[in-house]
Symmetry: C3
Subunit: 502 residues, 3 copies
């Protein structure tokens, strides 16, 4: 983040001016940070609105890591703009010219501005700084700045916007500029600047939330942590379990099957993870329904763990799809392998030497044909779910469509995966040779959670329970109408009445 910032500040103000100007707005923005480049002087960009920031970036050779520069069509804004001529003045003069000042300075150097305190008095200071780690200091940078300059109004903002979004102009997503300050007027002015720059200012209230705002750019996929650890945990468990059944057990019996580890063991592990994760997506919904039924109301807050779980379903679902897709690729690779080839040839040779032409086992054939085709269908459905959870698509659906795809199609996908597992297992659960070290076949373990979910869903779909659930979700509450009975109100009516707030 750090090495990104100068660009951020500069481009910010450049575009700010550019856009402000383009709207005949007369707020001057001075980039104090530039002062440090040139010792005593500060840089005021001139009023040429076509002064772009791309050249600034080039001059500084900042580069985003990795293949993807942000966003779609930045060429619009990064082409053939003349360089902007920066007018360099003394910092004090610069400050005089302006009302809003972007303080693009590290926290540890706020002090260097202190000798300007008198000139700055009464102006609006926008603190755009970021920390290098979460909750680095007790008080947020903005609050610290405010304590240094009691005569100024400090506004926190713009720190969540990356330099690249700024350079290529605000595009879809991530256009929110979180702003907080104790002074409403100052907040309004900065919000206006943000809006003029094409961002959507979001009021985060007063200074107290500055700390939160400063932590946002330091977050690293917080929503993904738990699901990923969950997936890894499941993977490790099933991997060892399969290792024991497929490699260790034969080894004790004297067969070396270690070559199975890289692909076959992994490929029996992945589907278990995918399958259980998928069921974990629908389990919390079931639990929520249970609690709603039990307490007879929906206005009772869920326990936090359930709330967390509900909010992580998207990530769990996507990881489940990822594992399923990998499982598909692994399975498709099976016939490519040498081992497959050798085994094939060996059986063929054996058959030939025994002069046995008939190797056809109808049951085996049917089993495999069925579970493969069922598996493909399940994968197809899951891919639809994954696609509709892309932001741009999810947002183009209305609520009913979205819940149809995610809830209905998703549950059908769960059903079909269960079918896939059962047909894969076939009758092996009842064949004792499968119980190596008395360990049941892996697929039997995986069936537990999904079957619970499916069973619960079936029960909930019984008319009586469904009715009750629906009423609860429409706002009806158990024993509600006892609390107050309107003169003209029967229990039914008032229950209708309560349901009417919904």
């Amino acid at each position: 983040m750090a090495y990104l910032e100068p660009g951020q500040k500069k481009t910010q103000s450049v575009q700010a001016k550019q856009k402000l100007y383009s709207h005949g707005n007369v707020i001057t923005v001075v980039i104090v940070c530039l002062w440090f480049f040139t010792g005593e002087t500060a840089c005021v960009f001139p009023w040429f609105p076509f002064c772009s920031s791309s050249d600034v970036r080039r001059r500084h050779g900042q580069t985003p890591p990795g293949p993807s520069q942000r966003g779609g069509g930045p060429q619009h804004r990064s082409h053939g703009r003349p360089h902007c001529r920066a007018e360099v003045t003394f910092q004090a003069e610069a400050v005089k010219k302006t009302d809003v000042i972007f303080v693009a300075v590290f926290r540890e150097h706020y002090s260097t501005l202190c000798d300007l305190a008198d000139v700055l008095a009464g102006k609006i200071l926008v603190d755009v700084s970021n920390n290098t780690e979460i909750n680095h200091h007790k008080e947020s940078n903005a609050e610290y700045l405010a304590s240094l300059f009691p005569a100024c109004t400090v506004v926190k903002g713009f720190n969540v916007i990356s330099a690249w979004t700024l350079q290529s102009g605000a595009r879809d997503g991530n256009k929110q500029v979180l702003i907080c300050s104790n002074n409403q007027e100052a907040k309004r002015i900065v919000a206006e600047i943000a809006q003029v720059m094409g961002f959507t200012p979001v009021d985060m209230g007063c200074m107290s939330s500055a700390c939160e705002i400063e932590n946002i750019p330091l977050r690293l996929l917080p929503a993904w942590k738990i699901p990923i650890f969950l997936a890894l945990g499941l993977f490790l468990f099933f991997f060892t379990y399969n290792l024991v059944r497929q490699v260790i057990h034969p080894y004790i019996r004297g067969q070396k099957k270690f070559y199975k580890i890289p692909i076959e063991v992994v490929n029996t592990t992945l589907p278990c993870v995918a399958y259980i994760m998928l069921s974990l997506v629908y389990l919390p919904g079931v639990l929520a329904a249970c609690s709603q039924l039990y307490y007879g109301t929906k206005y009772r807050r869920f326990p936090d763990w359930l709330d967390q779980w509900l909010r992580h379903r998207k990530q769990i679902g996507l990881l489940s799809f990822f594992c399923a897709a990998l499982h598909a690729v692994y399975s498709l690779c099976l016939p490519m392998r040498r081992s497959h080839r050798y085994q094939l040839i060996e059986t063929a040779v054996k058959q030939a030497m025994e002069k046995k032409t008939d190797v056809w086992v109808e049951e085996e054939v049917w089993r495999m044909e069925i579970y493969i085709s069922v598996g493909i269908i399940a994968l197809g459905l899951l891919s639809l779910l994954a696609i509709t959870s892309l932001p741009s698509i999810a947002n183009s659906l209305n609520w009913r469509e979205f819940s149809f795809v995610q809830s209905t199609l998703g549950f059908i996908a769960l059903l079909i995966s269960t079918l896939h597992t059962l047909t894969y297992g076939w009758s092996r659960a009842f064949d004792e040779n499968q119980y190596k070290f008395y360990l049941p076949p892996t697929y039997t373990l995986t069936l537990l959670v999904p079957c619970t979910v499916i069973l619960a869903r079936v029960i909930f779909s019984l008319p009586c329970i469904q009715q009750r659930l629906l009423r609860i979700r429409r706002g009806w509450e158990k024993g509600r109408y006892v609390k107050f009975v309107l003169p003209s109100a029967t229990g039914e009516y008032s229950s209708g009445e309560t349901s009417s707030n919904v």
Copy 2:
């Protein structure tokens, strides 16, 4: 939808206040619905802008179905906000305090507000209600509300926004708040509220279109219905056709091939569907061009069926890609199957017993190598088409880029798929053993439509026709200059003139 609404209403007003406040706006929003929770009293949220809606949601434990919560980075807005203290007053008082009232009440309970009629007189009522089914009532809820409160101005709006969009703040897509009312001023005020909340208000005109607005959230992928039925129809037809050729026919000849149904028959059906659907994407364009050539103008409206067809091409194309992808996966699964394995071994054994080492058939090898590689290329192109039809990508392309990918690349994909089909068919169309029950091989059937499209495209690309088509599309009309001849106008000039509106 229903169980979603209370959150929707509440969060709406909460955020409305929050945002309004943050912009120094002084409109009070009262949530009448809350009144029902607390009997006689109504709830007025206090003016703390950092009062978020996430806690409201938690309190009510509403949960979106399925893995995907809407949108990308909601953590911005759902973190660490203090609970908002709701000040609870009597409803009448609450109403006095405000000008705009969000009536978050079911249609059947509007009546319960009647005793407030006098207090409400002259205020703006925003009807946010939704029905449970399309065109449930004769007149729209908003119109019904207006009839109940003749003294108030009723505005319909905000019903298309889901509670989740509201909670996580308006993000890309689906930001439109459709508003309609007979009173321009009221409309303006509500539109302003929407804008302040970060949505883009869309004027839908006067009350008469309220019914339309109320139906929108009840729609379930209307654009997909026809294409999906089309795909299913094609699938069923080709499935039965292939069933007859691949299973029934051998069965009559005394061979049991039923195991082929789950995979092989499906896998010969899917490509047919995909291929024909792809050609159906480009057929309407050809028809449109024909009609334009025939009538010598582009200003003649197309018949509705063609118009419908043109507007469903995206969906048809995506379904075609979906089938093609499934076809690819199915094909890749073929060598995994037991049946494949057994057949392989059996042939090997036979060969061994006959001491035949040479099984190589050069022609077969070539045929398969070619049609597989061609098929992969076609799939690659189709996947590019599918990706560019993602909203976020489609919108980052300019018109020329978009039409290049969709029209040019798409047509090339059609050409290559045709090649794939032909190389797959090879010479089998002329081998009478292939005509089981006198039925021609499936692939011959599929070739009809695509070849027509390709042929038409080739003809249109002939200079003479292309020129004419281009002029028509630039606005030129047959015999146009006859209608009015400007003094200084030659036919050429006026044709140029007409073409100039283009």
Copy 3:
């Protein structure tokens, strides 16, 4: 583009009016272009805000090419709107009624407006025209129009918006309306219209940049040209190289292996391209770091070629992923092929005749199991990279998350691909039989660039260098503090100071 324009103009103004009206705005917009349809008269759309543009489109039967109509949920705006009754007046009258006029006329027909010059005097003309090729005329259309009507203020804008975006309302992405004019006030008014229509006006400065704006809609994926040619070049080189090794060489030895060309040769070529392209994504970052280390500053502008390269990494990366995916599909197809089948049977038969049952080669088995599984993992990582580079997802990540995925994960993907290549190569680099015509095995060639990148990355991660690099990227400059020493400044402090602008 051309045949698109009338719709564009019309819908533009229709929506403009519709939206303007909905905001009580009183600017009249006249579509002069319609005049040409009806000879002497001009068309003024009436004030019915629910007058949609979809019917206009239908009337003109414009159709976007190919399967994908732009955008996600256009049904919102394209349903059940009554036709708008267009009031047809004389052009002069129409012009009198309005202040802002959208001149939807081809450049070559501007002259036809000259007789209106006196009526138009003092009005704002919005030039929405596009050319058919880049830099077609010396001066831009807007400038030409301005020269024709010196009495009017000309504003260039709206030409980058496609008719489809206009019809289905402005949605995510591509909402920018680039505006330029020499008159600030006129610019402000048009910008307001754009904003009312739901677009984000972008000030492009004065008339001089009109030419640039007019060229934008004519661009055809400029950012992709270089990467695609790069990929093609690499493909051709490796294709011929593999052709020589796999086909020509055996042919000279007297074996006909031509059947290998369509799949096997392509499938050994694609991974090379993918692998080298992937390394080329990370090479420029390394070079940039080198130059920063060498010059001891980040404020020195990079040479243009490096700058270009840095800006094309996204495209290079996506092409690399595309090749990798194709490589995966090709590989999965290998066992499907007849040739594979025949070879299998032949070996089996041979073995049978020699009564050899043991064909198992442990090393071969291990090699293949490992490099397949490693390959799958690499593909999985690359797909994650590709997904996060979708605009809508990239924009939902904060900078740290984005750089983590693209830089860290991407580099891990590079490492794993290297492992994949090495395990695939195994010991063959040292087996002289592999050096056909003294040509080394292909995979050895591909290793060069990636290994350089990895090595450089390892070196940069050494504490001493890493520290220096970090300080430079935080703004520190070599020998900087020599330039000015503040009284209270030690070298360390001022270096800190300089780093503080970062």
